[in-house]
Symmetry: C2
Subunit: 189 residues, 2 copies
């Protein structure tokens, strides 16, 4: 079995390429453990949350929005970036985003998982929660002012169909639908 | 229901920030559908594949490797980037990566899903396949020369435990373990 030192790539030099609002981009020259050097393109991101909100009618609340990198409109679970002040408390981000994007609050937020989305070049980490016992907020916090969102509530079958048609097409949402289906199986048997 | 035009963000100006080997980075100024402008940070990527290889003993073949953006060693399903010549045929990438990373070939590669990993800023798309009826290759293609890999075979319970300990921590692999568990439920009932 190999040790950590047999894998580790130590940075020889790090070059900053871009400091953005959402991402920072770096180019590293690294020393390979077996000798030699290589380049590593790196995108640093502060991370985010995704929420799986299930209504009393057993429907999944989803958000339709335009995604510039894809140049299309897609259906996703509610999600958002962790704000600087929320760093150590992603559950706060989850409650905030749930309210901003769906207009619901909950006392029942459950941690499911955390996952790096693209570990080959990025450290972006997503925390995933489920939310049940949803309560409609009378005057919900405003949505981000540069986002157009439309809300939908889907049954499991409708969500699976939306994966087939490609309207649902991102990793966190496909994971969420799979997780929801598996959860229903586990409660059934 | 809103129309596409109510969502679309048209690019006013695109600025190239970095052209890399793996990613290209751009900064767009976009016209918002409700008026006004905003910036969009964009990372373009040629996409990749992930493979869920299941042995005859019902174990999942996984790869241990160092991921520079995370500065740690993690356990993932075999995966790799789509080469320029493979663009329209990700199943070719899957067969190549399966052989390079695990030393196995298969005639039974099944398409499962395709998913955008981080649609907020990137167009990176991952095609996921399962591979069964694995056959050991006598002289497998060489691994990439800047990668140190170690192979493991895990049962479902071991894989679930590795998610708990954080050794498995990326979206495609957590999805794969969930998918495998759901598949076993479906075959059982």
């Amino acid at each position: 079995m190999l040790e950590y030192k047999d894998f580790e790539e130590k940075t020889i030099e790090r070059k900053e390429l871009f400091k953005g609002k959402i991402i920072d981009v770096f180019l590293d020259e690294v020393a390979l453990p077996m000798g030699g050097v290589a380049k590593r393109e790196l995108v640093f991101h502060h991370g985010g949350v995704g929420i799986i909100p299930i209504t009393q009618e057993n429907k999944l609340i989803m958000v339709k929005q335009f995604r510039k990198p894809l140049e299309k409109v897609v259906l996703e679970i509610p999600a958002g970036k962790i704000d600087p002040g929320e760093g150590q408390h992603p559950e706060k981000t989850a409650l905030r985003e749930l309210e901003e994007e769906t207009g619901y609050r909950t006392e029942k937020l459950s941690y499911i998982n955390e996952m790096y989305l693209s570990p080959g070049f990025s450290n972006e980490k997503l925390y995933i929660y489920s939310a049940t016992d949803l309560v409609k907020v009378e005057n919900p916090r405003a949505q981000d002012d540069d986002e157009v969102l439309e809300l939908y509530e889907l049954t499991l079958e409708e969500a699976k169909e939306a994966i087939q048609t490609g309207l649902i097409c991102d990793a966190k949402t496909i994971f969420a639908v799979n997780y929801w289906e598996l959860w229903q199986y586990k409660n059934k048997y």
